[in-house]
Symmetry: C2
Subunit: 262 residues, 2 copies
């Protein structure tokens, strides 16, 4: 049976916060045919809002330490400000957007990250994606707009990385759909030289990735993004791309690991 196409676009905070990039992204997204899901970040706005409220921002390896006060900030900023403005703007473009956190219809349940070397606080690791609920919403013609928030099904919201949400949802929905997962940020893809946008790497395999991390070609936030991308492409997602809003059909395509004989 040929699976129906599903596009999942993850858009980072830097795109959400730049009016020009955001407008381009929303226009491109609205013109995508068929079933689709938007996943958004919003970290910079959360950091700004936390500053204004006197809540200290602490990041470890690019991940936000989420105290009880910071959880309030991200619930407001991701679930309210960013999510509802995206939904309103998509509705204006004729997209039947429906803003969701993991708590809504229990679409994504997570578990508070255990304290090991670092206490990340109210950060959730995804345990369950509700394929039935998401499928029923897609079938009803809704276009889910997912905020990077989940819940523990015990009454507490949890902060969850938007790339992780996008890849978890893509992997879970791959059982029903032929999923294209696109990570959309302010850079055009994986670059050989981060200062040169023309040094785009068109395809990347896990075998290329490890040496590129070792020699520093790939660093910082691109490392977890690529890890999510490899995880997705090797777990049933049909296509995974890292690109920028102006170039949704280009960017860096992630290659599946070669099959082994074992």
């Amino acid at each position: 049976m040929i699976k129906e196409q599903l596009n999942i676009i993850k858009v980072g905070g830097a795109v959400v916060e730049d009016e020009g990039s955001l407008t381009g992204l929303l226009m491109s997204f609205s013109s995508l045919r068929g079933k689709k899901i938007l996943v958004h970040g919003g970290g910079k706005i959360a950091t700004e809002m936390a500053d204004k409220l006197g809540v200290e921002t602490q990041m470890i390896d690019g991940r936000r330490i989420t105290s009880a006060e910071m959880l309030k900030v991200v619930t407001m900023v991701y679930g309210g400000l960013v999510n509802k403005n995206l939904v309103a703007r998509l509705q204006a473009l004729g997209v039947n957007a429906l803003g969701l956190t993991g708590a809504d219809m229990n679409v994504i349940m997570s578990v508070k990250r255990p304290v090991e070397l670092v206490n990340f606080g109210y950060v959730g690791d995804v345990k369950y994606v509700n394929v039935k609920a998401l499928t029923s919403l897609l079938d009803a013609g809704a276009v889910p707009v997912l905020a990077p928030l989940t819940h523990d099904k015990e009454g507490t919201m949890l902060n969850t990385n938007a790339d992780t949400i996008a890849s978890s949802v893509a992997v879970a929905l791959a059982e029903k759909y032929s999923v294209t997962l696109t990570f959309c940020s302010s850079i055009p893809g994986v670059l050989k030289n981060v200062d040169d946008p023309t040094s785009l790497i068109k395809t990347i395999a896990k075998a290329d990735f490890d040496p590129m991390v070792a020699d520093g070609t790939i660093s910082a936030g691109m490392i977890p993004k690529l890890q999510n991308a490899f995880e997705a492409i090797n777990s049933g997602v049909a296509k995974v791309v890292i690109t920028s809003p102006s170039n949704l059909s280009g960017g860096t395509t992630i290659l599946m690991d070669p099959e082994t004989d074992d």
Copy 2:
């Protein structure tokens, strides 16, 4: 044809903000059988958050003047903080809660209030309730949790009074359902003497209301609440009650206007 029952409970900011009242309300709401919708306020939390952010709160006749900065605050507080915490807590009680603003699936479209004597700013007057979308969500087993926010379908969120949202949705859904609309606040109903909770008026008709406003028995926030209640009961809603969370089956029942011969 006998219409299916639908319970719409509107819970005010004072209940949402008091942990004891909120827990009671959520327990009562979770035990209601059949289709149901929760509508919430959150004005006090919005005012507190605005204070912290240095955004001035200005109220006229109990309605919030909504500047661009205040719109950000209410979008964060109503759409994010309050809505998502209610959803997470209801999910923990086994209720398939789905948080919505008017923008989500375009469930409530409004028009920015025209400037007459007062410029209310980004305040929306309800123009359209999407019965089809709400019915499809209810049929899918979702329990909508409505924040007091709408949109103009042109990309802008608007602040809309929660009592108005509750009565507008009740009236619109009355074509499909036998709707019971319950306004739930920190007082047990309409009181003859606001300082004496035992002076509860069990039923009230529009004919009783006007003289009670004139003599000051009914005042302040109870006036628009009762106006919404009379509007609802005279527009097809089966039952309208004003009560407190601990007394969902009691309170003051609103009477329909007598039919006239014209």
